[in-house]
């Protein structure tokens, strides 16, 4: 990639972040909160996309990383009185450790076997979060409000219940995950990951130990998912085992597919679209999941590469 192309890519992606920042001054209150939530969930989808889109590994167990981040951050706040920064760090570390342990076992498999193994591990994690309900409080969960001390910024307390704090914290998380994904994609390591997705044996014969690269991708992917889970717990003040259920493993897959697998912008577009699809459909009918399903089928039929994948194929071939 030459310098001009790199500048174009940077301008577009930094522009999107700038728009998200400016949007908070224009959005009505209801959408303000929605977009904050979308950005946290999109960070989760970015992590998922790192593994599926750029390494070619499809997981159905990412909820365990999201939930590991959530419990890793939420439990220390609830029981040990951790502050926000310590809790976020603990959440991310929990997710990455879990991803590393899972990867050392599960990366012996690939393709459908990997998908099934990830599903089984995630189910075990989910059941464990119910089994230890004396600590986790199971599917009833627990709330963090009152337990979490507000952030101090130059002597001004910033509580996460304040919309502006919530929005900008979510934006900060999203921007970090977004730029990390972009940086990785444009780096020599990103090139190796894509090569593994395309043709693993060839990549190994060109001197790359594919297992190590897949493990790295999995740990980073789990780390982003956990960062999103930890932030979700801190910003929306609730931790519960619902977030470890299979539905939360399927969501990032759908968001990524809808937005465009293997594009940096895809996860954000897919998450936002799906969020509002559910939001609007559930305002019209109680069978809103049916509406969502129909729209998904239509998108897969006419845009099998997802929205940003189609944009790339038709108009912007330089999109990373």
């Amino acid at each position: 990639m030459n310098d001009l192309a790199t500048h174009r890519v940077l301008a577009l992606h930094l522009g999107v972040l700038a728009l998200l920042f400016l949007a908070q001054f224009a959005l009505p209150e209801y959408h303000h909160t929605n977009v904050a939530r979308i950005m946290v969930l999109a960070a989760y989808a970015l992590g998922y996309n790192l593994l599926l889109g750029y390494t070619g590994l499809m997981s159905l167990g990412h909820a365990m990383f999201f939930a590991a981040g959530m419990y890793g951050a939420g439990l220390p706040v609830y029981y040990l009185g951790f502050g926000a920064a310590g809790a976020l760090g603990a959440g991310i570390a929990t997710g990455m450790l879990l991803a590393a342990a899972f990867g050392l076992m599960a990366l012996r498999t690939s393709g459908v076997s990997f998908l099934i193994v990830s599903l089984m591990f995630a189910q075990a994690f989910y059941l464990a979060s119910l089994y230890f309900n004396e600590i986790t409080l199971g599917d009833q969960g627990f709330i963090l409000s009152g337990k979490l001390a507000p952030l101090q910024l130059g002597g001004t307390p910033l509580g996460f219940h304040e919309p502006a704090v919530k929005y900008n914290a979510a934006l900060l998380l999203f921007a970090a995950c977004f730029l990390l994904s972009l940086g990785l994609r444009l780096s020599p390591i990103g090139r190796v990951l894509i090569a593994i997705r395309e043709n693993e044996e060839r990549t190994r014969l060109f001197g790359y130990d594919s297992f190590r690269y897949k493990l790295l991708a999995l740990v980073l992917s789990g780390g982003l998912a956990a960062a999103a889970g930890a932030s979700y717990a801190l910003l929306f003040s609730y931790v519960g085992s619902t977030f470890a259920s299979i539905l939360f493993s399927i969501y990032p897959l759908l968001w990524t597919l809808l937005g465009g697998v293997g594009t940096i912008l895809g996860p954000l577009v897919g998450t936002g679209l799906m969020f509002y699809l559910v939001d609007i459909a559930s305002g019209i009918t109680s069978a809103y999941l049916l509406v969502v399903g129909v729209v998904l089928v239509a998108l897969i039929l006419w845009f099998p590469q997802g929205i940003m994948g189609t944009v790339r194929a038709k108009w912007l071939p330089w999109l990373p």
């Binding site: 020599p188 090139r191 395309e198």
Partner: protein
């Protein structure tokens, strides 16, 4: 054996065997390749040629025997470590990264040597990779199509792209598995010129069916049949060998 290398061999196999179930695909093969030579390995389909080079480049694990490279035992070395020793393999069937551009295809092997060690990895600049990619593409005559998708190329150009990828990996022992398969006569001549040029800086191990190509390129020829080496010598000697004619040339 007809050839006794005066210098220490670059590559040596000792009693190398590969069994698949009851079938010995490669049976007790002692091969010696001198540095700088172009060595052809010929033989009928199923003779064990691809299996043999598979064990040399690390795709396959031998059932028994040893592989020595520069006098070192590399039998247990993993394929990605062998590349760093200079052993580069091109597949019999084109094995490109189909949906990526020619540039990206060549950039993957080109950046490998620049990524040695953690500090080098961090300091790696795309400019250094780009220089290597352009040089490799230019040397096979594909300089103008760097941005095209690999699967949009004509078959002959895909084979050349494979060669550019191998060159970008800076081979010291280049293993070419039937490089002329499916090429037109003009393309074959271009490829022969290229292999000669490569052989000025690297040792070439060539698996080939096309006898005129073997006669034109190879300094020595090894003939395999049913997993064993049945003859070895100069192209002229091999042509005259009665056993080879019976097993392979069909005369």
């Amino acid at each position: 054996m007809a050839t006794v290398a005066a210098v220490a061999p670059l590559l040596e196999t000792e009693a190398l065997c590969k069994r698949f179930g009851g079938l010995a695909a490669v049976n007790d093969v002692d091969l010696r390749v001198a540095p700088g030579e172009i060595r052809a390995v010929i033989g009928p389909n199923g003779a064990g040629k691809t299996t043999l080079v598979g064990m040399i480049c690390g795709r396959l694990v031998p059932s028994s025997g040893r592989v020595l490279y520069r006098g070192r035992d590399i039998t247990a070395m993993r394929p990605w470590e062998r590349l760093m020793q200079g052993i580069v393999y091109t597949f019999q069937v084109t094995s490109l990264f189909k949906s990526l551009s020619c540039y990206e295809n060549v950039a993957l092997p080109a950046q490998r040597r620049l990524m040695r060690g953690f500090a080098a990895r961090l300091a790696l600049r795309e400019k250094a990779v780009a220089e290597r990619v352009c040089a490799a593409l230019a040397s096979v005559g594909l300089a103008g199509i760097a941005e095209q998708r690999a699967d949009s190329l004509a078959y002959g150009h895909q084979r050349l792209l494979e060669l550019a990828m191998a060159l970008a990996a800076e081979p010291q022992l280049l293993i070419l598995d039937e490089p002329t398969q499916g090429l037109a006569q003009a393309e074959i001549e271009q490829l022969c010129d290229l292999v000669r040029a490569i052989a000025r800086s690297a040792t070439v191990l060539l698996i080939e069916h096309n006898m005129p190509v073997v006669l034109a390129l190879a300094g020595h020829v090894t003939v395999m049949d049913s997993g064993r080496i049945i003859a070895e010598g100069t192209p002229g000697e091999i042509e005259r060998d009665a056993g080879v004619q019976k097993a392979y040339l069909g005369r």
